[in-house]
């Protein structure tokens, strides 16, 4: 099945809903020592970041003190997250790729098994009157194709409170894309204290499972995934809204 998004090229948008972008690199490792002190030093020296270490769940985290740059390390995974406004274009986050490569080097991994790009959008909305609800905001923003086949609008108003999230997995089973998966998560959050205001969430994730991808290919492969993530975003929202982002 071909990608349903068409082939729009990534645009430089004048307005954006994008709040953060994450790169995920998974690998097989024969070494289970994290050596995070070395990574912290590397991050500090190389990127001149004021950073600190922390544990969040099972993740060991190295992050800048302003929380705009974050590196997370798990047993077989490294993640780099960059937030707006530090993120303006994909090259901004690729600048931090050397830290992931350093991490892989410390873990004695010379190839990766999966990569992913996740783009998190958060869209604040205000309803003009109480006859409208978060459902209307979703219908106004999101493409009909994104919302169809889900039971979003079968929910009662009682259930349609606070925050809910739906996940759509797009499955590509042809030979060319058989390792490619696209998840699009959309949802909403309502503030009970100000029910006319809330936020919609749109998060396209594109992952590519690969067998022994050489590290040297990482940069270019991530850029390809980013293009698909942009196309998924473009497809997910109504054209008239996207046009407004260009103005």
């Amino acid at each position: 099945m071909p990608l349903p998004f068409g082939n729009p090229e990534p645009h430089a948008l004048k307005q954006t809903f994008l709040k953060d972008v994450t790169i995920v690199v998974r690998y097989d490792s024969v070494c289970d020592v994290c050596q995070s002190d070395e990574l912290t030093k590397f991050a500090n020296d190389r990127f001149n970041l004021d950073i600190f270490k922390d544990w969040q769940g099972q993740e060991e985290v190295v992050m800048s003190s302003d929380n705009l740059v974050k590196f997370s390390f798990l047993e077989n995974e490294v993640k780099i997250r960059l937030r707006f406004p530090n993120y303006k274009r994909f090259d901004d986050i690729l600048k931090f790729l050397p830290l992931a490569l350093e991490f892989l080097s410390l873990r004695k991994a010379d190839c990766v098994t999966e990569i992913a790009v996740v783009k998190y959008n958060e869209i604040n909305y205000t309803l003009p009157n109480e006859r409208l609800s978060a459902k209307d905001a979703m219908k106004d923003l999101f493409n009909d194709e994104l919302l169809k086949d889900d039971d979003i609008f079968d929910m009662s108003d009682d259930d349609f409170k606070n925050l809910s999230r739906w996940e759509k997995k797009l499955d590509f089973s042809d030979d060319e894309n058989h390792n490619l998966e696209v998840f699009i998560v959309c949802g909403f959050a309502i503030n009970p204290e100000t029910p006319n205001r809330g936020a919609l969430i749109l998060k396209p994730s594109v992952s590519y499972k690969c067998k022994d991808m050489p590290l040297v290919n990482l940069h270019d492969e991530l850029k390809k995934l980013n293009t698909i993530a942009f196309q998924a975003f473009h497809w997910s929202i109504r054209q008239e809204i996207f046009s407004k982002l260009l103005e």
Binding site: T16, G57, R83, V118, I123, N129, N162, L163, A189, G198
Partner: protein, 196 residues
Amino acid sequence: MNKNFRNTLKSKVATIVTALGIIFSPLSADATLTPNADKTFCQCEQIENVVEINNNNDIIFESVTTNLPTLETTTPKAGQYNFDASEAINSAFRDFCARAARRGESVNALKPIADKMADLLSDVRVESVVVTGSVEEEYLNIRLYMPGDVLISLNVEEDDPEAVVNIYHKNTIMASDEADLNAIHKMLISVQYSNV
């Protein structure tokens, strides 16, 4: 940790108004935020941090219920943490079940675990609750986000009454009997009031 991330936007926020009059608020691409982004961002990050981004289409499900603070509020108020943990767990678990059902899975076997945790936490107030579980691995994880950036993670396995409670930034305890669960409850109440 996130207390510094609650300032307001410096630059003017543009809006998009739809035919229905709904206003969407994007950021100007050349906007500069104060060193520490806005608060909605901070709170939604708590939600998004727990999303499984590549879950291999397996039987891990996740459900979230949360409170969304207002942009104007620059510091947390006690009243914002107005979710009763018990209700929040029940609500999140219902959604968890619905998500499982949509994928053709039943997670009813995990319900007694959710009920047990809901009972235990009936008078604890939280900011948000995340329920994650696996039918195949027969476990349920309940994460409670509490004031003061405290995350409490309860891992319970169906065939094992033992509850492992991790209170990040605070302590780690394991419970294997009723007395331990009572001690955990006491600690949660203590955390609740010490951080508001």
